[in-house]
């Protein structure tokens, strides 16, 4: 028992994943604070006469940063003064939901050694399918929603699967083909939206017909933007991906493939087929993002616009990175990003002079940079090396990427 405790303590002091992630967050909060100060002209001038009146600058800066982060906290987690004190955390969850799908859609193929940068195209085609089913099909309420969800997943999976197929069959690198597909999908969307089949005749701008009311995801709580059924789907997706990766034969294949494709092949695991599976699943998950956008309450119009992807396909990459490719990690990372988003909006509204929402974007980016560069965090905080796999890591040329992965495994198995 005490042995276990000792090991856990030793773990905290070493450069393992959890410690690094937490410290990366701390660092980025500090940097965010500095940015808040820099964004304020008045404060800067106080720093100008720092040596005459150091207290002005110091207390002013402290107030600024404290107010900013308090406003963010109130906007993202809990606001004691508001009528609905827990409303903010609902906002956070609503913001986090699509990020969970997007993060999983990057994390899952990543474990199989594939980099899914094609989230944008998977999302767009998923949205096209979901929207079409949403405004053409007539069905009673739960069935219609189900059809929309399935259509979105199929649309995304088609694009994802195509990327996988291009790689498996023709050796096209998934990053290159994804970039192409992203562009193609954007073009297809811009064209489709103007076609008779899709365009909303009552509108002048580029927008599709709205989906029927029966196609909307049922609300769970609150009013616009409300907590809806997509959050339940997100939780199910996390559980499902966790189960697939750690308990299923498919996950076993994918993980083997991601870690040593040659050994996997030698042991009879088909590399190409499983790459396609991984990308199919990833695309389906991205398709769910599309469903949250179209049938959710995020876009008030419930219709496709040319900017419907909102960069979520790419944010998924950062969420997956922050979540270390593990389903639970991805969920936590999505919540953090959701909180920063919700909090950022609130902060912008609540602070005078305004702290721009961009600070949040920078904080998000900085976290990811630190997480991606664990050595940097390790240097800053003088952490010990991770115990396992260190020689083997520096030993074989290909291994450095393996060492952190091992650490992830042991850390996440504990979660």
């Amino acid at each position: 028992m005490s042995d276990r405790l000792k090991r856990i303590l030793a773990g905290i002091g070493s450069a393992n994943t959890v410690t690094v992630t937490v410290l990366a967050f701390v660092l980025s909060v500090v940097i965010g604070g500095v940015l808040m100060i820099l964004s304020d002209q008045h404060l800067l001038s106080q720093w100008g006469y720092f040596f005459q009146h150091p207290t002005d600058a110091l207390s002013g800066s402290w107030d600024k940063v404290a107010n900013g982060y308090t406003a963010m906290f109130h906007g993202a987690v809990y606001d004691p003064h508001a009528k609905q004190a827990l409303r903010p955390i609902e906002n956070t969850v609503v913001d986090a939901t699509p990020l969970v799908f997007a993060g999983l859609a990057v994390a899952l193929p990543f474990r199989a050694g594939l980099f899914n940068i094609g989230g944008q195209s998977q999302l767009i085609i998923g949205a096209v399918c979901a929207t079409w089913v949403g405004f053409t099909v007539s069905a009673p309420m739960p069935l219609h929603v189900l059809l929309v969800v399935i259509a979105g997943m199929i649309g995304g999976a088609l694009v994802g699967g195509l990327t996988g197929l291009l790689k498996a069959r023709f050796g096209a690198h998934e990053v290159i083909s994804s970039i192409m597909l992203n562009n193609i999908a954007l073009g297809v969307l811009a064209w489709l939206i103007k076609t008779k089949a899709f365009h909303d005749p009552n509108r002048q701008d580029a927008i599709s017909k709205p989906v029927k009311d029966t196609a909307l995801l049922p609300a769970i709580h609150g009013s616009s933007p409300e907590l809806n059924f997509s959050t339940v789907l997100a939780i199910l997706a996390v559980l499902l991906v966790w189960w697939v990766m750690s308990r299923s034969t498919l996950g076993f294949r994918l993980r083997a493939l991601g870690s040593n494709p040659d050994a996997a092949r030698t042991a009879g695991i088909s590399v190409s087929r499983n790459q396609v599976y991984a990308m199919l699943l990833a695309g389906a998950l991205m398709g769910l993002v599309a469903v949250t956008q179209i049938s959710g309450t995020l876009s008030a119009s419930h219709a496709m616009t040319t900017t419907l992807d909102n960069g979520i396909g790419f944010t998924g990459i950062t969420v997956a990175l922050l979540g270390r490719g593990k389903p639970v990690g991805v969920a936590l990372a999505a919540l953090l990003f959701g909180a920063l988003d919700a909090g950022g909006v609130a902060m912008e509204a609540a602070t005078t002079p305004t702290v721009p929402h961009d600070v949040v974007t920078v904080v998000q980016a900085v976290i990811v940079v630190f997480v991606a560069a664990p050595k940097l965090v390790q240097e800053i905080f003088r952490l010990r090396d991770v115990r396992r796999g260190d020689i083997k890591g520096s030993g074989t040329g290909a291994a450095p990427s393996v060492a952190p992965a091992t650490a992830v495994d042991s850390a996440a198995e504990a979660v």
Binding site: L250, A256, R265, T406
Partner: protein, 561 residues
């Protein structure tokens, strides 16, 4: 330079890899480290080279205590290391690899690589120590033995006074080993010292000045190079080891694997296996001997579905050519791939997971959808005990195992499924004498149970000890199939190809003798086998390959007893 390690201790989790190890390396000596798999030899050397920091203990160089936090420190102190798994960049030339990370060869103000100087340095060092390397050659085009030479040159270019060689001979042919020994003797004469790790006792006896034996992380004694292999083995493993394989003669059964006119091209598009035909019988070990790179690798890859081929290879009547690796495994193939790190193991996976890598969706371990984690764990624990895999538990990632223990995992995986055909390449590469005894015993058991076994090894002793027949490969052809009592000289001659005539001539000479013997001590088997050969071989091999094969077959079959 006099090097001393004092009280070096290093633990990984609950495993004490090194506990209070003392070791002194005198200038101008070849110091051999002997020890079981997982004894802690590589760990100790990695500490000495600055790759690992010890929990406690000191490194003393010429009376001064030193602390190495990175290999850079160790290199500055005059220590060089050649790892078992090379650290060269395959797409770089020799010269480029040699200047990598070597500050001095960065010439200009912007840190340009001074290629000309690098090339000159390479030439100088290789001339001084008799290590011929071509600075312009690409690493990936070089045979392993030459790659290793490059690693040694790299260490020497940085003025290493002590050179650590961690199992350098595991991947070398006997000739390459001999060349390496010449180099080592040259270094010794130049006053440098060498720390040499190997599991091959005859090498230890041939080259060592001093021998230190490590067991379970502690020094258990030293030995004189004059000690017998048996003494060394028991000192190392702590029990008596049988160094010879015990094998009763056995009459081979029906043809299990029939290969006809097999042609395989390698990655560069050259014909690596050129029209090979042979039969492997049930209850027979066929050893494939040959210098590395004569098509053995491609032959095995073709038979295991990993590489496209033309011709035919039928396992109990089912075609293997064109089948997927999975389909071949489904037929009950047990496969020990040649390179455990590259093709054998998933380093992030636990030992238990690696043990079921080719069976995780078969009955006890999993089904169509789900894995049975308990069954996988239990199998892992059982194999850990059975194959004496030294690890904390079956949950330990395979990447954290010592080299020999990794090999045991790969071998255990192939044997545990009671394979209908066992194909093992370099089955005992890197394992200690105790484990080798065990693995050899299991291979013979497999044969005695009436299973066909194909062994590929560059280790002649292993081949002759295990095989019932030996097929020698040279330049993609089987240049002869000979009985296991063929002398090493003759095998060497065949392996070197000589001229085709020469090989054939020696074969014919060979073919006469055993027959004469068989007549001298009349044996029924000889007659029982002969007709089979005659009736079967010409009938089935209507292909051009038949020119050489019948003669070879005949000699081997008749010499079987």
């Amino acid at each position: 330079m006099r090097l001393e390690l004092r009280g070096i201790t290093k633990t990984f989790g609950s495993v004490a890899a090194n506990s209070a190890i003392d070791l002194t390396v005198e200038p101008g000596e070849i110091h051999c480290l002997l020890g079981e798999n997982g004894a802690g030899k590589s760990t100790l050397m990695n500490i000495l080279y600055g790759l690992l920091t010890p929990d406690s203990g000191q490194i003393v160089v010429d009376g001064q205590t030193r602390e190495f936090t990175s290999p850079g420190d160790a290199i500055k102190a005059g220590i060089g290391m050649v790892h078992q798994h090379f650290m060269l960049v395959p797409v770089f030339t020799v010269a480029e690899n040699l200047v990598l990370g070597n500050e001095e060869s960065r010439g200009g103000p912007l840190g340009w690589l001074d290629r000309r100087k690098a090339k000159a340095d390479v030439k100088e060092v290789s001339a001084r120590y008799g290590l011929p390397v071509d600075p312009e050659a690409l690493i990936e085009d070089l045979p392993v033995g030459v790659q290793q030479r490059v690693e040694i040159v790299k260490a020497l270019m940085r003025d290493a006074e002590v050179l650590i060689l961690d199992e350098p001979t595991a991947v070398l042919t006997p000739q390459e080993t001999e060349e390496l020994f010449t180099v080592m003797r040259g270094l010794k004469a130049a006053g440098k010292s060498v720390v040499f790790i190997t599991h091959k006792l005859n090498e230890v006896r041939a080259i060592a000045d001093r021998i230190t034996v490590i067991r379970r992380g502690a020094v258990v004694g030293s030995a004189e190079p004059t000690a017998s292999a048996r003494e060394l083995a028991s000192l190392m493993v702590g029990r008596d080891v049988r160094l010879v394989v015990e094998k009763e003669p056995r009459e081979p059964g029906e043809v299990a694997l029939s290969v006809r006119g097999l042609k395989v091209t390698d990655d560069r598009g050259f014909l690596a296996v050129d029209d090979v035909s042979f039969d492997l019988h049930a209850g027979e070990v066929l050893g494939v001997a040959g210098v590395q790179g004569n098509g053995q690798t491609e032959l095995v890859e073709a038979l295991t579905g990993l590489r496209a081929a033309t011709g035919s290879a039928e396992l109990f009547g089912r075609q293997l050519v064109g089948a997927s690796p999975r389909a071949v495994l489904r037929q009950g193939l047990g496969h020990v791939p040649e390179d455990r790190q590259h093709d054998g193991l998933v380093p992030d996976f636990s030992i238990a997971e690696n043990l079921v890598l080719d069976q995780f969706d078969n009955k006890p371990f999993g089904g169509l959808l789900t894995l049975d984690l308990d069954a996988i764990a239990k199998n892992g624990a059982d194999r850990l005990a059975e194959f004496d895999i030294r690890a904390e538990s079956e949950r330990t990632p395979a990447g954290a195992l010592s080299g020999g223990n990794q090999q045991k995992v790969v071998v255990a995986r192939a044997l545990q499924r009671d394979p209908s055909l066992l194909i093992a390449s370099q089955p005992t590469r890197g394992v200690d004498v105790g484990a080798m005894e065990f693995i050899h015993k299991r291979i013979v058991e497999q044969r005695d149970a009436g299973k066909p076994v194909l062994i590929v090894s560059t280790e002649l002793d292993e081949i002759t000890a295990l095989s019932d027949r030996i097929a020698v490969m040279y330049r993609g052809k089987i240049v002869g199939i000979v009985p296991p009592d063929t002398s090493n000289e003759e095998l060497g001659l065949l392996m070197a190809g000589g001229s085709g005539d020469e090989a054939e001539a020696s074969l014919e000479a060979e073919a006469v003798e055993p027959v004469a013997e068989a007549v001298a001590e009349p044996d029924i088997e000889a007659e029982a086998v002969e007709p089979v050969v005659e009736s079967e071989t010409p009938a089935e091999t209507g292909q051009p390959a038949a020119e050489e094969t019948p003669a070879a077959d005949q000699s081997s079959e008749s010499a079987d007893e």
